[in-house]
Amino acid sequence: MIMRYGFFPGCSYKGAAGYKESTEAVCRELGIELAEIKDWNCCGATSYWSTQDLKSYVLPARTMALAEKQGFTEIANICNACYSTLRKALTRLDEDGELKEKVNLALHEEGLEFTGNLKIRHFMEILVNDFDADEIKKHVKTDLAEFVVAPYYGCQLNRPWGDIDDTINPVLMDRLIKALGAKPLTNYSAKTECCGAAHMVAHSDSCVVLNRRIVKDAVEKGADTICTLCPLCQFNVDASQAGNKSVNMPVIFFTQLMGLAFGLGKNDLMLNKLLTPFKMAV
């Protein structure tokens, strides 16, 4: 049976190192259809929350209204910021009828209506919660038993709600890593530490300090790679190593790890797009 979800790729999906290619390949392998929400727009994220009262809700609401119109009841996200933005908007609009009315007044200009009858999900969480680990194991072709993976969740997944997992010590991705036959680094305490997000552009010095800690914790505890679930997390932790010759910690997406385990080809993984090179001796 094919599992089908409405899909919100967000703006940074296409440019992310091999995220799109590996996600698509993994979906083919497992029989999942991520059906792109037609004409989705940018969710606005921190930038709009920080500058606009009403538009910060209108942006995520438009994409959610489109999803409803196109018959989806669940939206799969692959970016922590999109996930948290859509969830936040959904929760607030549900609590605040007056705000919802205003948002809908704006959406009516395009003939759209937001009701909020939707569930916002992260694709990684979908894989863990909607799929049987044994089902996933059946697709594993490469032995990753000696491969140690530091699960980097980033800060925004599941915050502030804390309903899909613990807010400080999440373990969802650890379970996925185990199902793939690899070793999750269980004492990776930097797993939810913030990478600095867009501050990397304006305040790179202070962000490099944060990222150094995220990388160092993985190095010192013996990880072979850091595994991420958000384009911006991946980008910052990867790019922050540039210019530091003493570290070389590859930062991959969970979908690339799945592809490695499933024995998928080079073009499905696109590991050559990473900034810190990935090599595996298996």
Partner: protein
Amino acid sequence: MTDNTTLKDRFFKKYHGEEIQKCIQCGTCSGSCPFAPYMDFGPRQLFAMAREADMDEVLNSNTMWFCVSCYNCVVKCPRDISITDHMYSLKKMAAKESVKPPAMLDLYRSFNSPVEKYGRLTDAAAMAEFGLRHPVAALKNMPLGVKLVLKKRLEIKPRPLDNLSGFIKVMEKAEEMENQETNGKLANMESTKQ
């Protein structure tokens, strides 16, 4: 700048800032904030000042501009205060009071402007906008940009929405309602004060 009492009122009423009355000044937020070392005041102190209506100092500080929305403080706050949301509100208030625009405000504007134009963001568009405003910070990012181009990862061409005109109408309507609201509410608030 608007006077302190009016600003405190606006923060407490329009932006639900009155929640910070619950703050017990434990300092957990400031202790868990990854950017506290760079802030003029940690969130705890900022809230103490806002409660004393020292809004001029609050809005001119760099504190909220360093907030990256990591929610580390929120998930630890013993009083369940939505600290991150108050940081958003204070950013919006500071921008309206035309404080000297911090770099982050310029970055947000550079991010928003392609979104308003095309409905989506390309990194190149945002970086170009930001680069015009902050050439030095942009230059620092140049080598990385070149690498991304070589790896075919930097999207240069904008990807406008199919129904761009519909999207723009939606955003214009939101803007219009926003302006009505601000003018209406503020006029109201100021007139009840006199």
